[in-house]
């Protein structure tokens, strides 16, 4: 490997330079204080600042408007300030609406929480923190109320339903799983690209679920290239930026300790309806046999006094506890935040332990001098997960009254073969759980260290270094001696198998930058220059073997396996990126906003001929309400932004590869591609931000994305000896329409009601494919056609649909052979009413089953509503989501139908005799029968919280407490839908593509109700 000393040298020089400037900073401790400005004809103001609940607010900024003269409130919310007579005071505090009031000797100021959408300060993708009022492109932010009232279990869960243009699609309900996050649709028809994750300004590569939501201060979301160009070649799928707590808003000397506990239960929200009837012979003893009855009709009822689902899906207890410490030194030079959180989420399946996660965080900002600040952020999280896998077919195929808790012939629990009628001889899933071991342990450390040096008011230099290291280990043991479902007496037992894997991922980034901020008359300008080095190295080893030497579950060593069965392999990858960014941001009188960005980006995973790429953004906005006075409108800001961003190819895609295994080289596999590019996304975003009647904020956004150079695995000519090559081809368009309306419906001293509505609609289209049209599952991927259209077989309902059937002999008409049965389907005349009666499929001109158009998997629109109602100390909060339309293939239903378990198709017990159909009729599975409308209305979060303030606590002798909050939280309390599968929101990733299919798996529609208590000391 070529060694790269220049980078080391550059960094060394930069660091030495910083060091010398830093020490210069130390040498000037007597810089003038902002509080030391002399005033004339002054009055002394003494005041108190409280929130709407009467709780004193410490750390509130109180300044004389237009000057730097100011102070902050103490721990009792009090301040004292000398001001010129007649001065106006500006009162600002993060999370609360700013106020301007005339100075008086005695003042009592009540601050209300800031629910104005457009006043939020955005820090993602911009040169410096900027209010949304002055932003010329769209960046979403999770409202503080949402974070405060219902702390999400994960970042992804927190984002769900909070903003337009974002879809959080669970691929499983397993507590250790992560959903797919889609921002403004897909990037391509051939990949499922995930947003870039940034934590405290650091581009990370690890799992989002490691982030402890109790530590999170802010979450911002950038949905497309028009805003995400700042992050260049990795940002075309959007950016999720998380900022953690730091204690920066506290008063000098203030130390807050907080303990929060949440305890509750989770249970399954929906199980698919099974037939409770069967078509099997019942013997003389009244027992069901495995033999089908002559009539082959599913109309004999099971004894449903026992339900297999109840054995399997059970209510489990969930808890999370957090202890946090937030403080600021007496001098005010150091602020810090530290926390410990433990979460245990076992899921909803009996005996499975789910995940147990403990996270530690320690953040600190230290002002080393007036000009030099050191910031550190440290996170360590340890996750322990139960990886015992269950084939969910086993539960959906099982006899509906199977007794999973019955004992085996040898007396061991969980009878291995609990089914009598099950056509598939499925194993008892609880036997698998009870008799296998599989665990995963993951340790992750994320540390970020930043030095900021501000030699002049207009210049700030920074150097940041971060480490994101994770180690994961897992094993799986299927012990020797376990029973087999086809040999329940133990005659033929499992010989056992074992596997273990270990991986390390070490990512480190180095960033140096400079921020120039200068005001030229009425022009406010900022220029940020940044160099970023990113380096991500992953290595793993895996071993597996079978025919174990000993039985039982006490040993998990690979040495147990027969050496001849051992399969050992290793893998590694390293991705290095460099980028140079310049972003300019300016405005004239806060009225005309302009932003321009250019980024030069290089990455090792791109083909050598195209390794460096340039991304850019240009945007502008005009606050018309500042130019023209329009009654009732405080902000009227049209904005337009155009930007580009990319998606890197997968590691290894550019290389020429010979496949190898177990000491043999098999031959050429992947043809190299030195011209391989990063995918490119170009986005035009047009929007309008409006604040009207002082209580409504409206944001409208239209986005048009054109994604090109899409990653695609293309077969190559066979004679090259290679099988395939990674190439770039095609184009993919996404048009999205988004709206957010935020309304402060009630703003009174003791009562407030805020509502946020979001709406979005998307249209995705394939452009020129650059290859012949093809199918992906049931989807047709055709050039210049709408993306998401699905095709499949259907039952015929009119005779003309079967006119080409081969059963129609010469001289016969379709009417001679076929007729319509009492369900309205075409069947053969001679078979109607017999056990051979079957549906006919709609046929094409050649007499083959026709794959006709069924519908589109994309929803017509999505809506979300968040409500926060506060009355005195009581807050009621909820978030609801509505998806209208969009087809979803109910694969669970299809699986159950294949197994004779689906109630709709199979259960004939409640039908009149003439409508009872036999096995051949019910056991038919056209595609159209399983595509269902996935419209739903979900209650995502609901909370009722009451906060006892200091006065109330003092009254009962708890004066050592600052506050206590108790509440009840419900998550995913109900889903209203016609979709008959486990969850209308779930999706499956197949071949790297997110398709319109749900499939039998850990159900994701899970209800959770918890009680919470937060004690602030």
């Amino acid at each position: 490997m070529r060694k790269n000393y220049w980078l080391c040298k550059t960094f060394l020089l930069a660091a030495i330079g910083l060091c010398s400037v830093a020490t210069t900073g130390y040498a000037s401790p007597d810089a003038p204080s902002v509080l030391g400005i002399e005033q004339q004809k002054t009055i002394q103001v003494v005041g108190t600042v409280e929130d709407s609940n009467g709780v004193p607010l410490p750390g509130v900024n109180v300044t004389v408007k237009g000057t730097t003269n100011g102070t902050i409130t103490d721990e009792n919310g009090k301040f004292r300030l000398s001001v010129p007579a007649g001065a106006t005071l500006s009162i600002t505090y993060i999370g609360y609406a700013s106020q301007e009031v005339k100075a008086k000797p005695k003042m009592e100021i009540t601050m209300s929480e800031d629910a104005e959408l457009l006043s939020e300060v955005i820090v993602t993708g911009v040169a410096r923190g900027t209010s949304r009022e002055k932003l010329s492109f769209n960046v979403e932010k999770v409202q503080k109320t949402a974070l405060k009232e219902v702390t999400g279990t994960t970042v992804a869960a927190t984002l769900n339903g909070k903003m337009p243009g974002i879809k959080i699609l669970p691929t499983s309900g397993d507590p250790n799983s992560e959903p797919i996050i889609q921002l403004r649709g897909a990037l391509s028809f051939a990949s499922t690209d995930q947003p870039l994750i940034i934590i405290d300004g650091i581009v990370t590569g690890g799992s989002l679920k490691d982030i402890n939501m109790e530590d999170v201060e802010n979450i911002e979301v950038v949905k497309g290239a028009a805003a995400a160009s700042f992050y260049g070649a990795k940002a075309a799928a959007g950016v999720i930026s998380i900022t953690t707590k730091r204690g920066s808003g506290l008063d000098n000397g203030q130390v807050d300790v907080s303990f929060k506990s949440e305890l509750g239960a989770s249970w399954i929200g929906f199980v698919p309806e099974r037939t409770t009837a069967h078509g099997h012979v019942i013997d003389a003893s009244g027992n069901i046999t495995g033999t089908m009855e002559a009539d082959q009709i599913w109309d004999n009822k099971y004894d449903m006094s026992h339900d297999a689902f109840d054995d399997f899906f059970v209510t489990r207890f969930f808890h999370t506890n957090t202890l946090s410490l937030t403080g600021r030194s007496k001098s005010g030079d150091i602020n810090y935040y530290a926390s410990i959180t433990n979460t245990k989420n076992p899921g909803i399946v009996k005996m499975l332990e789910g995940v147990n996660r403990t996270s530690f965080r320690a953040n600190m900002d230290a002002k080393l001098s007036d000009k030099l600040t050191l910031s550190t952020s440290n996170m360590y999280v340890r996750s322990h997960s139960d990886n015992r896998s269950i084939n969910f077919d086993d539960i959906y195929y099982a006899d509906p009254n199977a007794d999973f808790n019955a004992v085996n012939l040898d007396g061991s629990p969980y009878k291995v073969n609990p089914n009598i009628v099950s056509t598939r001889n499925n194993i008892n899933p609880l036997y698998t759980v009870a008799n296998t071991r599989a665990e995963g342990t993951s340790n992750r450390f994320l540390g970020a260290y930043a030095l900021r040096y501000q030699p002049f008011e207009w210049l700030s230099l920074n150097a940041n270094y971060s480490i994101d290291f994770s180690h994961s280990y897992s094993y799986y043991l299927n012990p020797k001696g376990n029973l087999k479902v086809d040999s329940p007496d133990g005659t033929n037992r499992e010989t056992g198998s074992i596997s273990t894997s270990s991986s390390d991922d070490f990512k480190h980034n180095l960033e140096v930058g400079a921020l120039f901020t200068k005001k030229f008359g009425d022009f406010n300008t900022s220029l940020k220059l940044q160099y970023l080095y990113e380096d991500d190295k992953y290595e793993s080893v895996y071993g597996a073997g079978s025919k174990l030497a000993v039985g039982g579950m006490d040993n998990i060593s690979l040495e147990l396996a027969d050496p001849e069965t051992l399969d050992i392999n290793s893998y590694g990858q390293r991705i290095v990126s460099n980028s140079y960014t310049a972003v300019f941001q300016g405005d004239y009188k806060d009225t005309y906003m302009f932003d321009a960005l250019v980024r030069r980006d290089g990455a090792s995973v791109i083909g050598d001929d195209n390794m460096w790429n340039t991304y850019y953004r240009i945007s502008g906005a005009w606050n018309i309400a500042k130019t023209f006075e329009i009654k009732g409108i405080d902000l009227l800001k049209p904005r337009v932004s155009y930007g580009t961003a990319g998606i890197l190819p997968a590691y290894g895609a550019k290389y020429e590869v010979y496949s190898m295994s177990a000491g043999s080289l098999y031959g050429a596999e992947q043809m190299g591609n030195s011209k391989l590019k990063a995918a490119l996304s170009q986005e035009l975003e047009i929007g309008l931000d409006v604040r009207f009647l002082k209580r409504f904020d409206l944001a409208l956004t239209y986005s048009h994305k054109r994604n090109t150079d899409l990653p695609y695995v293309m077969a190559v000519s066979g004679i090259t000896g290679f099988s395939y090559q990674n190439v770039n081809l095609g184009e993919f368009f996404v048009q999205s329409y988004e709206a957010t309306l935020n309304a402060n419906l009630i703003q009174k001293k003791d009562m407030a009601w805020d509502v946020t509505l979001t709406w979005d609609k998307m249209h995705q289209k394939v452009g020129e494919l650059g290859r012949p049209n093809f199918t992906s599952g049931n989807m047709k991927i055709n050039s210049n056609e709408t993306y998401g259209k699905v095709y499949g077989t259907k039952f015929a309902t009119s005779l003309d649909q079967v006119a080409t059937h081969k059963d129609i002999k010469p001289g016969q008409s379709v009417e001679d052979v076929f007729t319509i049965n009492n369900y309205g389907y075409v069947v053969r005349k001679d078979r109607i009413g017999t056990t051979e009666e079957t549906h006919m499929y709609v046929l094409d001109e050649n007499g083959n089953n026709k794959r006709g158009y069924i519908g589109n998997i994309n929803p017509d629109f999505n809506m979300n509503m968040t409500n926060t109602f506060t009355w005195k100390n009581l807050t009621f909060y909820f978030t609801m989501s509505w998806q209208q339309g969009g087809l979803l293939f109910n694969n669970t239903k299809q699986y159950m139908s294949f197994a004779g378990r689906n109630a709709k198709f199979w259960d004939m017990s409640d039908r009149v005799w003439a409508h009872r159909k036999a096995y051949s009729y019910t056991n038919q599975h056209p595609t159209a029968s399983f595509f269902e409308d996935a419209t739903f209305l979900k209650m995502r979060e609901m909370a009722l919280n009451y906060r006892f303030n200091k006065n109330q606590l003092r009254a009962v002798g708890l004066d050592f407490l600052r506050g206590v909050k108790i509440g009840i939280i419900g998550r995913n309390l109900f889903t209203l839908t016609e979709f008959s599968g486990p969850d209308p929101e779930t999706r499956t990733v197949e071949g790297g593509v997110l398709n319109g299919i749900e499939t039998p798996k850990y159900p994701s529609d899970i209800r959770t109700v918890t009680g919470t208590i937060t004690i602030d000391f």
């Binding site: 490997m1 070529r2 790269n4 000393y5 980078l7 080391c8 960094f11 060394l12 660091a15 030495i16 060091c19 020490t23 130390y26 010989t495 480190h508 180095l510 080095y533 380096d535 069965t565 399969d567 893998y571 590694g572 390293r574 290095v576 990126s577 460099n578 290089g602 990455a603 090792s604 995973v605 390794m611 290894g652 290389y655 020429e656 590869v657 010979y658 496949s659 190898m660 000491g663 043999s664 080289l665 098999y666 031959g667 050429a668 596999e669 992947q670 190299g672 077969a715 000519s717 066979g718 004679i719 090259t720 000896g721 290679f722 099988s723 051979e836 083959n848 294949f898 051949s920 056991n923």
Partner: protein
């Protein structure tokens, strides 16, 4: 000053250790070698040859290569269950689905996967041969032993081109001197030229084996040491050459024109043992068509045509089953004068398909499953067959039969006909047609199950109409659509109406 010294010391330590810590963007792929890495050292060539052996085995038998499986059903050797993978049965009735190869879809695995597999192997062998020709030296104990590399590479090149010649109507011929980037559509050569190339390579292998004697061959090639010596390699090369000649005819007319003396020359020097892998063996796939034909887990069944042949006096053993055969019906156990009906097969009428009953029972139904050749089906242990000595012997017998060696041919046929089947012996006095019928009977029962393409080759070339491929069956494979498109050629295919032949409409 002290602070500066501390800080500089810290930075000095930090950067003195940063050689590997920071990197440029010229990252090498350390976990997958490139061709330069692989071909740079001749001592890696045995590993490459081993890889080709494994790839060849996998292409012919491996579970992942479903492209070979249609051969099992087009030849009526197997009947599929519910139409899984490519086990679609080609129907015999007018108006039924057309047994035409879909060669208009570039993503279709059949026949594309075979083409790609074979050219993957050919390119590796081509590079190895070019490496030796370019001066690479393979040594053992300090001695140059390039002949071992050459003998094995020639054998494998001849073997892969044999399969290409047997399957495809035309192909590109790549040798150690071919510049792949200069290939054009004009370089497509008919199967007869591919066959000649295969034989040339096999002859080169045989020549080295003759010159070097019974040398200790490279290890890690075909399983169970079936290539472990020079003599065994020579037997394999002779067997492959015999296959290449005997199985090449696409019709019975072409069979009649065959130079059987040439076949005889190779066949008499051919296999002395079965080519088998004893599992478990890491590099040999276990999930094969035979395993799927097994009664316990399979989708595939023994073809009704085989059962009808073995049970001539049983009225229930009908092939093809009538069109109105009930999809849910079962047939009773058959009776046969051939003992192998009970030793090699099992009556499993209750087992139709793991995925439910056949969609079209009369096409796909069979009440029998095979139990022979798949003893690894339960635990992944046991013998997995590719070629048998019996197959080699029967090629020899067929060559004898066509070169007036009736008595010897009859003896070979009787070895299994009488020895295993306990059927009436044939002799030199048996009429020629009867001897041919008996010979092919043995081929279908004894050696056409492990590698299903063997049954396909037998059906298309058999000189007896009653055993021929049915009407509208394809008799060879077209160049895959994707390759045709790459070289600007029109798509074409085989099978279907254009191959309809009333002679073979049974």
């Amino acid at each position: 000053m002290k602070a500066k010294i501390y800080l500089l010391s810290l930075l000095a330590v930090f950067f003195s250790s940063c050689d590997d810590y920071f990197s440029g963007m010229d990252i090498k792929n350390e976990y997958s070698p490139s061709i330069e890495t692989v071909m740079g050292d001749a001592n890696q060539y045995p590993s490459l040859l081993s890889g080709v052996c494994t790839s060849y085995w996998s292409a012919l038998l491996g579970w992942s290569n479903e492209a070979i499986w249609p051969m099992g059903t087009v030849s009526d050797q197997y009947a599929p269950g519910a139409g899984n993978f490519n086990l679609t049965t080609w129907a015999y009735y007018d108006g039924m689905e057309k047994p035409e190869i879909d060669n208009s879809n570039e993503d279709s695995t059949f026949p594309k996967a075979l083409w790609y597999d074979f050219y993957g192997m050919i390119n590796t062998l081509k590079n190895v041969l070019a490496g030796i020709e370019g001066g690479a030296v393979y040594t053992e104990s300090g001695q140059e032993t390039n002949y071992k590399i050459l003998a094995n590479a020639y054998f494998l090149m001849g073997t892969v081109y044999t399969e290409m010649a047997l399957f495809f109507d035309q192909a590109f011929i790549l040798t150690e001197t071919t510049d792949v980037t200069a290939i054009t559509a004009e370089d497509l050569k008919p199967a007869s030229e591919v066959q000649k190339t295969a034989l040339d390579y096999l002859d080169k292998c045989i020549k080295i084996c003759n010159e070097k004697g019974d040398f200790e061959n490279l290890t890690g090639l075909f399983p169970n040491n079936t290539m472990s010596t020079g003599n065994k390699l020579k037997q394999l090369a002779n067997f492959m050459a015999a296959r290449c000649l005997a199985y090449f005819p696409r019709t019975k007319a072409e069979t009649e024109a065959l130079d059987w003396n040439k076949v005889l020359g190779y066949a008499k020097e051919a296999l002395q043992e079965d080519i088998i892998a004893t599992l478990p063996n890491d590099n040999y796939s276990q999930w094969t068509l035979i395993q799927n034909a097994s009664p316990e887990s399979g989708w595939a069944r023994v073809g009704m045509r085989i059962l009808e042949m073995m049970c001539p006096d049983d009225a229930n053993a009908v092939w093809p089953l009538p069109r109105d055969f009930d999809a849910t019906a079962t047939l009773p156990e058959f009776t046969s004068p051939d003992k192998r009906l009970v030793t090699d097969f099992s009556y499993t009428p209750e087992h139709r398909s793991a995925a439910g009953v056949s969609f079209s029972g009369y096409q796909k139904y069979s009440p029998y499953s095979i139990t022979r050749f798949c003893d690894y089906r339960f635990s992944g242990e046991g013998d997995m067959y590719l070629y048998t000595k019996v197959e080699s012997d029967l090629i020899y017998a067929e060559a004898l039969l066509n070169t007036n060696g009736m008595a010897d041919a009859a003896n070979i046929i009787n070895a299994t006909r009488v020895g295993r089947g306990e059927l009436e012996a044939v002799s030199a006095a048996t009429p020629a047609d009867e001897l041919t019928r008996a010979l092919y009977y043995e081929r279908f029962v004894e050696c056409d199950f492990p590698y299903p393409a063997t049954a396909f080759f037998d059906r298309r070339r058999v000189p007896l109409d009653e055993f021929q491929l049915t009407t509208r069956s394809f008799r060879q494979l077209p160049v895959p659509f994707y390759e045709l498109k790459t070289y600007g050629l029109e798509s074409y295919t085989f099978g279907g109406e254009k191959d309809a032949n009333p002679l073979y409409k049974f």
